[in-house]
């Protein structure tokens, strides 16, 4: 898997290391939400996530999933990006396979001694919809901003300055470390290295990580020195300026009744079939 050749550049892709999501905005199509202030997008994302997570019926969850899909589309998230969702679906599969059998309720189907319930199935579906919806919302509203603006917006929204500095510095270093890793991995491949499930490969990969740590620590010291030389006192001034406009306020105000409506429908609109409130 790691060794399969992919036509994309940068080299980190060639080494099976996918940092593309960080290196440029997730969006590959036009971000049609670009007109809004990143802070408004962040707040909206948090509100939406909060609403989605508190849904209790699979129907409402499905509505939320479609809405999240629409937001991701507006944000310009390409279908190709959705492969990031695969690990999530693995966990979802475990839940889909176990929950129907572990939630008591009306009979859906019986497999030998195991009895699946409607309620369990509905709960599994609800979780599936909610989990995917939140990720799509994050992709569409935050991921498509790109890492830099997103972190700056977080800083403006009150994330502690030290933490923001750490995130920004880490982002920059991930690029450097990722490239270094990719070059070393390429050189290993040039020496006929093929990762396999054996001691030789594990040792080589462990050494590779160790060497990355060693080289990076040396670089960290150089980075720190260089920053001190340029007058860094731990407080980095953030360069990005955002402009909150009326459309941002309207966006949030407009979203509130929609969210409230969804919650109301969730509680009272679809009573019966998939009601699960524990």
């Amino acid at each position: 898997m790691v060794e399969s050749w992919q036509p994309d550049w940068p080299p980190s892709k060639l080494a099976g290391l996918d940092l593309a999501g960080l290196q440029r905005p997730l969006a590959e199509r036009e971000d049609r939400l670009a007109a809004f202030d990143p802070r408004a997008r962040l707040i909206l994302a948090a509100l939406l996530a909060l609403t989605v997570v508190s849904l209790q019926t699979a129907n409402a969850g499905l509505v939320a999933l479609f809405a999240a899909g629409a937001i991701a589309r507006l944000g310009g998230v390409s279908l190709r990006r959705l492969r990031y969702l695969l690990p999530l679906e693995l966990l979802m599969l475990v839940l889909l396979l176990t929950l129907p059998f572990s939630v008591p309720g009306t009979l859906l189907l019986a497999v030998g001694p195991l009895v699946a319930s409607r309620e369990g199935g509905a709960l599994a579906l609800l979780i599936l919809f909610k989990a995917n919806a939140v990720v799509l919302i994050l992709f569409g509203l935050v991921g498509s901003l790109g890492a830099g603006p997103a972190v700056h917006a977080l800083a403006r929204l009150g994330l502690p300055s030290k933490l923001c500095q750490l995130v920004l510095l880490t982002l920059r270093q991930i690029d450097l470390v990722g490239d270094e890793y990719a070059r070393m991995r390429l050189a290993m491949r040039a020496r006929a290295f093929v990762p396999q499930s054996n001691r030789h490969s594990w040792r080589a990969l462990g050494w590779l990580s160790g060497m990355l740590l060693v080289r990076s620590l040396a670089r960290a010291r150089r980075v720190a020195d260089a920053m001190r030389c340029r007058g860094f006192d731990g407080q980095r001034r953030l360069l990005w300026r955002f402009r909150w406009r009326r459309r941002d306020t309207l966006l949030l105000l407009g979203a509130l009744p929609l969210l409230a409506g969804l919650l109301l429908l969730d509680r009272w609109g679809w009573s019966g079939w998939a009601d699960w409130s524990g």
């Binding site: 070059r183 050189a187 290993m188 006929a192 290295f193």
Partner: protein
Amino acid sequence: MAERGIAGPELELEPEAPEMNERATTIANDGLLVDLEGIGFGYGSTPLLSGLDLRIGRGERVALIGPNGAGKSTLLHLIVGLLRPSVGRIRVLGRDCRSEADFRVARAGVGLVFQQSDDQLFCPTVLDDVAFGPLNLGRSPAAAAAIAERTLAALGLEGYGERVTHRLSGGEKRLVALATVLAMEPQLLLLDEPIGGLDRASEARLLDHLCALPQAMLIVSHEQRVFERLGTRAVVLQDGRLLDAELHWHLHRHAHVHARGLGSPFHVGDGDIF
């Protein structure tokens, strides 16, 4: 430089017309180590190489010259399959290479020495690093260690086996990086800027060792001293294609040495120039 009079001769390269290529290639038609035909490659949508041909026969040491960003390193990576061309045919050691599996075989016979030794060296000790390649080729740990010891000795690095690679000097790292590739017993060496950043003493030591090697080589370098010592012919990478180069030695006192007049273009000894 001019004030120092006879400091360093400059190399002037004149690409020849493409039809002159025939001369060089017919010599080595038998047992070609590398045969590239019509290679095209680009990062993204901008083409870097197009319609590139290259043939390297046994015993040849080809100097690869070209401006920064012309795609010299890319070409080396294409030969061992770390990158794939968009069009064209790659034959390495007489086998057509298309899939990763083909290139895996090729990599055993073609050793790429990276521009940055640090990219290549990642093991705790020198011995581990030199044995890494032979282990990848399926040698037993004992056999790999023996090959590594032998390779180190051949490069005058006896006793370096237990040294920590990370703490070696730049010159030592370069030699060890060469050793890691030589330990795989390749028939062709691809050298990417072999002496870049080395001081004169380390450089001389490395060039001595390279000169003594029997392998064919493709050498990327900006340093004239390198092709002077190593090259049997030179090619220029320009506008995505390779052209045979004719070499003139320019001394600053306007002493021209026309390499061709001396039979083999690079038989210009050190003494003639310095």
